[in-house]
């Protein structure tokens, strides 16, 4: 069918069209239907593209029939076809959830705007992943960022506004750094096509502008990644955003930024330069260790569950960057796997917590912060929600049988291949820190008596429970059947890692 060849374009265009359509209707119902349909279709497209890449390798789509490197090219390989599945899949799960959850969080008259912004955010994220053009990447980055700021600011708590503002400043600085870096690359190579850049960058990468480009891009993308210590914006943003937004961002936004990092480091500059000739791996390794140990330790002492799991995200991002710094097939593969596995698990946790919060919210007041005091004894009222959060937590810890275990296995294996036993220790210690914060939840939800005055006896609404549990089941599934995650991730790593170790 002729349409099949246009799937790369449709992947991005469908959500892009859904956003203005949602605004045109100006009503929550149709807006929801349109954006959800777009998200589901784009999920289907992502799967189709993944299979297509799996079967026949690279796909290139020239936008407007301008052949690369002159025109903008959408380019799909193992890595980004895998990422597309994650991003669009999360959107497909989060959207039905959002319908139930924003009811209590956002005034009804702005619902259509919420859906439009979510559609736009999805467009941006998918665009970053699929595009083969450096400047286009920046534009999509800003599309997703701007819509994200709006989405975060829609939280009912006024601190959502300051969180969004903080993120706007940090995010814009990050994006501007990226665009400066891309500018240097363009000035030096005369091209914006990432694939076309590769041979030309190889010539100039040791020059001063080349290094400056790498530095600017590194810092800029790290800001979006929330790599420790550039993570300051993340805890507030995740804590005060509407539940569905927290879940979607936690699962996709930082992951897509990490994708951009991988793309620049491994494809454009080449890992043998970035990790072989520069002291970058040491640098990244130290930052990753700080993230894994400090952020996870900070997480233990949080009182607000959403903030706790936000800090946990910073820690888990440390795992991912640690894997990248190994620059080996298993290390990079573990990182790519963990992008996916952590995204799914963390998304599930935020969805389930959001369900619990929704149940505790009355229509008049702002949603209460899910503090440990408030969720004390919650397991009696919401057994399924609590059990789901625990299972998601087990994946964060990396208990066998969950998806987190698979990525941890490869990460430890990669550390062993490097002969770095102390790193093995650090990875495992940081997963023990995860045990500590997950068990704080367990003890609060299962052992403490419910606070006086809380209504008990009601499980979270099913419309909110099902999407969360769907992701939990996915976590368990990918903990046992790894042919999709590990297969794709290791293949992608194989394509990315060149340095021959």
């Amino acid at each position: 069918m002729a349409l099949a060849q246009h799937l790369p374009a449709l992947q991005v265009i469908l959500p892009l069209i859904s956003a203005p359509l949602a605004i045109l209707f100006r009503r929550a119902g149709p807006a929801f239907l349109i954006v959800t349909a777009a998200a589901w279709l784009s999920f289907a497209i992502a799967i189709a593209l993944f299979l297509q890449v799996d079967a026949s390798g690279l796909i290139s789509y020239p936008m407007g029939n301008w052949q690369p490197p002159w025109g903008i090219e959408y380019r799909l390989d193992r890595l980004n076809s895998f990422m597309l599945v994650l991003v669009s899949g999360m959107a497909a799960v989060v959207l039905p959830y959002a319908r139930g959850s924003i009811e209590r969080e956002i005034p009804h008259e702005s619902h259509y705007m919420f859906y439009a912004m979510l559609g736009l955010c999805l467009t941006g994220l998918l665009g970053i992943v699929i595009t083969g053009d450096a400047f286009n990447l920046f534009v999509f980055l800003e599309v997703s960022s701007l819509s994200t700021y709006v989405l975060i600011a829609m939280g009912r708590d006024r601190r959502a506004l300051t969180a969004a503002y903080q993120y706007l400043i940090m995010g814009s600085i990050g994006a501007t750094f990226i665009v400066i870096g891309i500018g240097f690359l363009y000035l030096m190579t005369g091209t914006l096509n990432l694939a076309d850049m590769v041979p030309r960058v190889a010539v100039i990468e040791s020059s001063r502008p080349g290094l400056a480009a790498l530095a600017f891009i590194s810092v800029g993308v790290s800001l979006k990644v929330a790599l420790f210590p550039l993570h300051q914006w993340l805890p507030n943003a995740y804590t005060y955003a509407p539940s569905s937004v927290s879940a979607f961002l936690a699962a996709t936004a930082t992951k897509v930024a990490l994708y951009a990092l991988i793309r620049f480091y491994f494809t454009v500059f080449g890992d043998s330069f970035v990790f072989g000739k520069l002291p970058l791996p040491e640098f990244m390794l130290i930052l990753s260790l700080f993230a894994m140990l400090f952020a996870n330790a900070i997480a233990i002492f949080q009182d607000n569950l959403k903030r706790l799991f936000a800090y946990s995200s910073v820690g888990q991002i440390g795992y991912i960057t640690l894997g990248l710094s190994f620059d080996s097939v298993h290390g990079v593969g573990a990182s790519i796997m963990h992008l996916f596995n952590h995204g799914v698990a963390k998304g599930a946790i935020f969805l389930l917590i959001g369900g619990a919060v929704a149940r505790m919210t009355t229509r008049q007041a702002a949603p209460p912060a899910p503090t440990f005091e408030r969720i004390a004894g919650l397991s009696k009222a919401m057994p399924l929600t609590c059990f789901g959060v625990v299972l998601g937590g087990l994946s964060l810890i990396g208990v066998p049988g969950t998806a987190g275990f698979v990525s941890k296995w490869y990460l430890v294996l990669a550390a062993m291949e490097k002969g770095q036993w102390w790193l093995v220790g650090a990875i495992l210690v940081s997963s023990l820190l995860a045990v500590a914060y997950v068990w704080r939840f367990v003890e609060a939800a299962y052992f403490r008596a419910p606070p006086a005055g809380r209504e008990t006896g009601k499980e979270a609404p099913f419309a909110l429970l099902i999407p969360g549990w769907l992701l939990i089941l996915a976590t368990l599934w990918f903990g046992l059947d790894t042919s999709f995650t590990a297969g794709a991730a290791l293949d992608a790593a194989q394509q990315l890692v060149h340095s021959g170790n």
Partner: protein
């Protein structure tokens, strides 16, 4: 054959689902438990004959990592462990009914569900064909027993649960997991094979480090200094302590130790490398016995006794002679039968008399003759007095140690036998030969509920029966060393 393996793993899981569904009707729920237990045991028993005959039926599920599947293979040692775990599940289900109802415990449905799932996990460990599968079920067993340990939901249970989880998860994550990954890294496989899988190129230093990671990583074997979780787990209801912390969980630990020593390292690789481990195990045996001697809380004394007895098995395994390996396998059975009897007694006394401290047991044997007789038999078996099964296993272990010329090991065994007697027999004496103290708090009481008494007598009889008819077990145990047709 494959279906039997899978059935014995899946039946308890279905049983758990059934229990959950039948939660509202206690009689139905308990029937489901017992029917499931019997059916599971029946499945396991049917596997005995082929294994005795030398075949090792196996089944491969999905591949978790490329070349590293979740797979099951029934070999003689696993067969023994599975028989013990599933067989005693029946008895302890009967016992649980008496205990849970007698004490009016809350959340009984959750209790039975977790119990059934624990058994499934234990069987998974028993049948695992490689380290990965073993680790998978090992961790599941830790997690699924956590709700049982903390069943009472009190502050004390929470603290006990913390210790339990911290030590078991901590050791398995910090030591066991890297050990397994390292094994996979250097050997390219994690399958259990007779003679070991480690390449000969490994330096002695690396080998020792790896052995240490395994031995301390398998925290369930309760080698000192990682034994504290076991006394901490005693906050659980007694059926849990009895089946899980005398049989399923701790035996999963020592079972894993024996498997790792026999099938990952292999006697040849380890020869001469295990001196320090023998010392640690010997120290654990003696130190735990001495702690047990001083404990007044009945369950605490039993717990430390368990710690000590577990190290018997570790010690027997690392002596590395065929006889001692047979002894280790048999001791898994004999200690299971003996110790479950003792724990059942503890629960019976708690239910009937609400006593937990040994100093309160004066004259209790006169009121609870059946229970305390069973206790005496169990004690004698643990001490190793013929004609009970404890004697058989100790005999093999001792002969093994002597055949290897390890006199100091033999001495440790003898010394600890004396200590066993010293911490168990005074209880018997107290129960039967002291005048009961009459206090007004508890009033008169009689025997424990019938369900419990039946269970206690069954296991006590078991210690005798197995000692008199040991053919099947000894046959299986000898299959371990004779190679079992791999």
């Amino acid at each position: 054959m494959d279906s039997l393996i899978l059935a014995s793993l899946v039946l308890p899981v279905f049983g758990a689902a059934g229990i959950l569904l039948a939660g509202r009707w206690p009689n139905l729920r308990e029937s489901v438990t017992i029917v499931t237990a019997v059916a599971t045991f029946a499945c396991v028993v049917q596997l005995v004959e082929p294994v005795l005959a030398g075949s090792q039926p196996g089944v491969r599920l999905f591949e978790l990592f490329s070349g590293l599947p979740v797979a099951f293979r029934v070999e003689p040692l696993g067969m023994i462990f599975a028989l013990v775990a599933s067989g005693l599940w029946i008895v302890s289900s009967i016992y649980s009914i008496g205990y849970m109802r007698g004490n009016g415990e809350h959340d009984q449905t959750r209790f039975y569900v977790c119990f059934a799932l624990s058994i499934a996990a234990a069987l998974g460990i028993a049948f695992s064909a490689n380290l990965l599968t073993l680790f998978l079920f090992y961790e599941i067993l830790t997690l699924i027993t956590y709700p049982l340990v903390t069943h009472s939901r009190t502050e004390k249970a929470k603290r006990g649960g913390r210790v339990y989880l911290a030590i078991l998860m901590g050791t398995s994550m910090l030591f066991l997991l890297p050990a397994i990954i390292y094994t996979w890294h250097v050997a390219g496989t994690t399958d259990f094979r007779v003679g070991g899988i480690l390449p000969a190129t490994l330096t002695p230093g690396a080998l020792t480090a790896l052995l240490a990671l395994y031995m301390f990583g398998i925290g369930k074997a309760a080698l000192m200094p990682f034994h504290r979780w076991l006394p901490a787990a005693m906050v659980a209801p007694t059926p849990v302590s009895a089946l899980l912390h005398a049989v399923a969980v701790v035996k999963a630990g020592v079972f894993s130790v024996v498997k790792v020593v026999a099938y990952v390292f292999g006697a040849g690789v380890l020869a001469g490398q295990t001196g320090w481990l023998i010392a640690v195990a010997a120290f654990t045996i003696l130190a735990a016995s001495i702690v047990a001697l001083r404990a007044d809380n009945f369950k605490r004394r039993l717990a430390y006794s368990t710690v000590s007895q577990l190290s018997y098995i570790v010690l027997a395994a690392v002596v590395l002679t065929p006889l001692s390996t047979v002894g280790a396998a048999l001791h898994i059975v004999s200690h299971a039968l003996g110790k479950i009897t003792l724990f059942f007694t503890a629960g019976a006394i708690y239910t009937a008399a609400h006593q937990t401290e040994i100093s309160q047991f004066d004259g209790i044997g006169r009121r609870m003759p059946w229970t305390m007789t069973a206790f005496t038999i169990g004690s004698l078996s643990i001490i190793g007095i013929p004609p009970f099964v404890g004697f058989v296993s100790k005999w093999y272990i001792l002969s093994g140690a002597l055949s290897a010329g390890m006199l100091q090991v033999a001495a440790v065994f003898l010394l600890s036998t004396l200590l066993n007697a010293a911490y168990l027999l005074p209880i018997v004496h107290r129960a039967f030969f002291r005048e009961p103290v009459h206090d007004d708090h508890h009033g008169e009481h009689g025997e424990a509920p019938p369900f419990m008494v039946i269970a206690v007598c069954l296991t006590a009889a078991g210690t005798l029966a197995v000692a008199l008819f040991p053919d099947v077990l000894v046959g299986l145990a000898q299959r371990i060393v004779s190679g079992g047709g791999v």
